[in-house]
């Protein structure tokens, strides 16, 4: 157990921890960007039913869903350097941060691909046919008609995903990344006031989550402006 509880320390720790918030956000943003890219690439073979690739994508998604993120993190952290060694690439000096971002990127990507796939199939087929009927190419029909609506449909789930991964970034300190939680760990060890550290951390994570939720819900309202706003009177 630590020393006796001191509320003032909670406020002391807040700025110290906040100065590492940008690392936490960097992990999140980097991972979301990778996740969007990977997620799209993984979704396409299943949307268009491309043999082999479709199966690979399904295996990838089910593996990510079926394993804890912490184990994925260790697998990448210890496994990727070994794998790369066999093709003569040395990554022993690469920052742990990179491993975290890659792991979280692929992890988000798998779930995002599921969300995108469901959203694309939720856009009614008739609109694609209408786009073909006016002479659009399949790519134009997808990009201009299906995708914008699919993104809107996917958005609430996507927002939840981002928020839950914000919280999961706190696991990064297990492989030695100095993010907010990592910094909290060292602060706790140095002062022996772990409870105060964790209260500060909880406050910060909670505040950031609330802030993100607010932003997402504003965006969502904007994206949904084409949904029915008032009943038809005529």
């Amino acid at each position: 157990m630590g020393k006796s509880f001191d509320l003032n320390l909670v406020f002391d720790f807040l700025p110290k921890l906040l100065s590492y918030l940008h690392i936490t956000l960097l992990i999140l943003v980097g991972a979301v960007l990778i996740g969007l890219l990977v997620g799209f690439l993984a979704a396409l073979p299943r949307i268009y039913n491309i043999p082999v690739l479709r199966t690979l994508s399904a295996i990838y998604v089910s593996f990510i869903r079926g394993t804890p993120i912490l184990i994925q993190l260790f697998l990448v952290y210890y496994g990727l350097p070994e794998l790369l060694k066999t093709i003569q690439i040395d990554v022993t000096h690469m920052s742990s941060l990179v491993f975290v971002i890659i792991t979280y990127g692929f992890s988000i990507g798998a779930l995002f691909s599921e969300i995108i796939r469901a959203a694309v199939s939720a856009v009614d087929r008739g609109q694609t046919e209408a786009a073909y009927a006016i002479g659009m190419t399949p790519i134009a029909a997808f990009v201009r008609i299906v995708l914008p609506q699919a993104l809107t449909i996917a958005f609430p789930n996507f927002a939840n995903l981002v928020i839950s991964y914000l919280k999961d970034t706190s696991l990064a300190f297990y492989i030695g990344v100095m993010d907010m939680t990592g910094r909290g760990q060292t602060l706790g060890t140095a002062t022996n006031h772990f409870l105060e550290v964790y209260i500060s951390l909880a406050i910060i994570y909670y505040a950031v989550c609330i802030l993100l939720e607010k932003c997402f819900s504003l965006l969502e309202t904007r994206m949904l402006r084409y949904e029915r706003q008032f009943p038809v009177s005529q």
Partner: protein, 250 residues
Amino acid sequence: MIRLKNIKKSFGKQMVLKGIDLTVEKGEVVVILGPSGSGKTTLLRCINFLERADSGAITIGDLSVDCHRATKKEILALRRKTAMVFQHYNLFKHKTVLENVMEGLVVVQKWPVERAKERSLQILEKVGLSQQIDMYPSQLSGGQQQRVGIARALALNPEVILFDEPTSALDPELVGEVLSVIQKIAREGITMIVVTHEMGFARDISDHVVFMDNGVVVEEGKPNEIFHAPKEERTKQFLKRITPEWRYSI
């Protein structure tokens, strides 16, 4: 001019089109009648390759395509000569009325945005939707949505517009406004192929009537001949059932 030659189409074991021939002159309005399941929708969808016919040939203007062998390029070219008005409108839900109409001009025909907007506004005025140009489809009544669908087709200045039961999803009190818009553009000499169950409308609008049943053309001719003096027994049965109040010289 549009010419369909020996169009055949099966879904699995079921042969839905058993060799359809049809010629539509420029400016002509052809109405296709027939009982449910006779293949009318399938025929329209084969014309713009939303379904690919198993065999047969389609000619529209100077473009002839063999259905079985048609390349992606030919299909695209064919679709750019046609337009379609759907039973369920199929409007682009995330675009405003004006954007729905402009989409084809800007994206497919590569018009500059300003010119496309100008033309789209003219056409929306023609279908009576000048007040609704900035609304989204979800804010419109069914009749208004279908008039947007018609404007979207009309904007492209196609060689033929295909109508698949344009009013059958509408509440009865909204049917009239859509039919009168179709009638109005028919008078402007636009070539149309119309599938409908609105018999009065069909008789008034058509230059030529085709009666289909079970994947074949049973009988075709001038509206007067088909509606008032049909020759084939199946045509008679169909008309008697659907418009018992009309008088036939049968």
